[in-house]
Symmetry: C2
Subunit: 358 residues, 2 copies
Amino acid sequence: MDGSIGKQFLKDYFKRTDESFGVFFDAKIREANSISNIPAELLRRFAVTARKGKKIRGALLTLGYQMSGGTNNEAIDTASFIPELFHTAGLVHDDIMDQDNVRRGLPSLHYQYADMGKTLNISTDLMHYGESMAMDIADAVFFLSWDVLLNLPFDDNLIRKTGLIYSQYVTRCAYGQALDVTNIEIDGATEEDILKVHKYKTAEYTGVMPLLMGSALAGDIDDTRKQAIIEYGTAFGWAFQIQDDILGIYADEQELGKPLGSDIEEGKNTLLTLHLSKHGTSEQKAFLKEVLGKENISAENVEKMREVLKDAGSFKYVYDLGLMYVENAKQAIPAVTSDKTYQDILESMAVFMMERAT
Amino acid sequence: MDGSIGKQFLKDYFKRTDESFGVFFDAKIREANSISNIPAELLRRFAVTARKGKKIRGALLTLGYQMSGGTNNEAIDTASFIPELFHTAGLVHDDIMDQDNVRRGLPSLHYQYADMGKTLNISTDLMHYGESMAMDIADAVFFLSWDVLLNLPFDDNLIRKTGLIYSQYVTRCAYGQALDVTNIEIDGATEEDILKVHKYKTAEYTGVMPLLMGSALAGDIDDTRKQAIIEYGTAFGWAFQIQDDILGIYADEQELGKPLGSDIEEGKNTLLTLHLSKHGTSEQKAFLKEVLGKENISAENVEKMREVLKDAGSFKYVYDLGLMYVENAKQAIPAVTSDKTYQDILESMAVFMMERAT
């Protein structure tokens, strides 16, 4: 099976919820505006970025609900904003930490506000102003995501159980982020270290959390199924992150919506560069050392890195690892659901994680 | 009535909950440690700062519960960690935004981690590493505060209502913070502008939110009382913030646990400096202009600022405004509770806000 069913599921979800996501933001922007146009404008800009996401997590939440027998489709579409709000707010903080200046084809929010600071005649460090404003609106959105949850038309008990899943996984995501921020810089990180960061920082809240939250909202609390969802979702999330690392070098920059090679510029230890640093020729290793952690990697060096990673077998090694996780995800599916339709969506979604071009 | 009953109430609360607050953190630190000692150490350091707070908000939450007839004292003490976690996490973000380097007698968390970065051989900008790590653990704690709420032994419906209050007020606090970060820098801020920032950034989540959350956990949803709590709490919070501004210049630095004059260094518009800029002699205004927004204000200039603010009548003007808010808070008390004991605590707490030396 290829990723086309999964791709279509994501596309349908995006199309179905895009307008209501906008309506949601409009209402919240009006509320913010009753305090001041300053937070309202911040939220308006946040919304533009949030609406441009791939929305894998939102789609998975609706899938978790549907495959667990839930039938309130309108409510679950609203619920699906929760992981999307968390995800985009997290990216805003992440872009500050990683000093990334482009996100989803737009200047990162803190860059937008560094510019805004000029208009407002902010007299001190404009970048610091931008970072403060971006940090702050992401905080507001973290809180708003709880407001969404607590206002859903589901039983109090289901809301509580869903909230417990949410708080658990987002806390772990923040712990994983601390590990990532520190590991970027530490020499001697192993493959195990990197996969651990991927698990906590990305895989769990991407693959596991939305499916579990959706299932919980449908009233599902069966431990065996829960375990299978965790297995599927973690493997799904690992595959997602591996393809993310690959796309960071091999994507079409325009389509990707962020600069190629930014992991390399940050000197981040990824599975690709780790493999190269161990298995490359001395010339290839020297090239890695030359570009790793240096600002403004050239298009030529991105192109050369692509070749070097292919020549050294690093691309194949990491790509195959991603396919292995897709396989692991598939293995878990029968215990997640016995419904053939949902089995197919789950399988194709996992496959699509390694096929996607953005 | 003076502030001694209020002071004692705070002291009793602190003493009663200090150990269990530590036990709470220990359990969460162990959880974080199961992922890695890096987030665990971050949380351990966060806990040290959190436990040193004045804990006004935690105490108010228990008061809101008790005066609304709640009787599960152990559970409400745990619930009271929620606003304290939010408050300290908010301060961690605030210290990054305001570039404050001391908090509660310790280096701010981001300064602690800039130092830590040296030990870990972090190769890039240490201050950026410190800010990233501090930003991140505060995010984690925001999420943990929800975990506390959702695990409380109260009915699902009460948890949900309490959560709705929590999400509403902390979102508004973040909006107020955006206003503050921007207003710091904008010339021509009026008294109304500053009081608006105080309301959203501080007064509501300090005075209103904990009382409403405590009342909600006791099952209280009466609209008239709710309105009275909002009136009392907002006035209480304004008085709190005004005294905070005053203490920022007039406190004993050792007792205060942070440097005097930091608002002046940041060039922040406060009610004190605003009054001075309007009503001071040309010499006094020239002095203000000389020190406002300049780094490292000297002890001599703090001392001179104290005198200038007194001579220009700015101190008296702002102090009287604080007393007016205390008076407003008192007016609201009869509609909050008819119980004399709780009336006295509410009144004395409000009075204490303008008496406190830290």
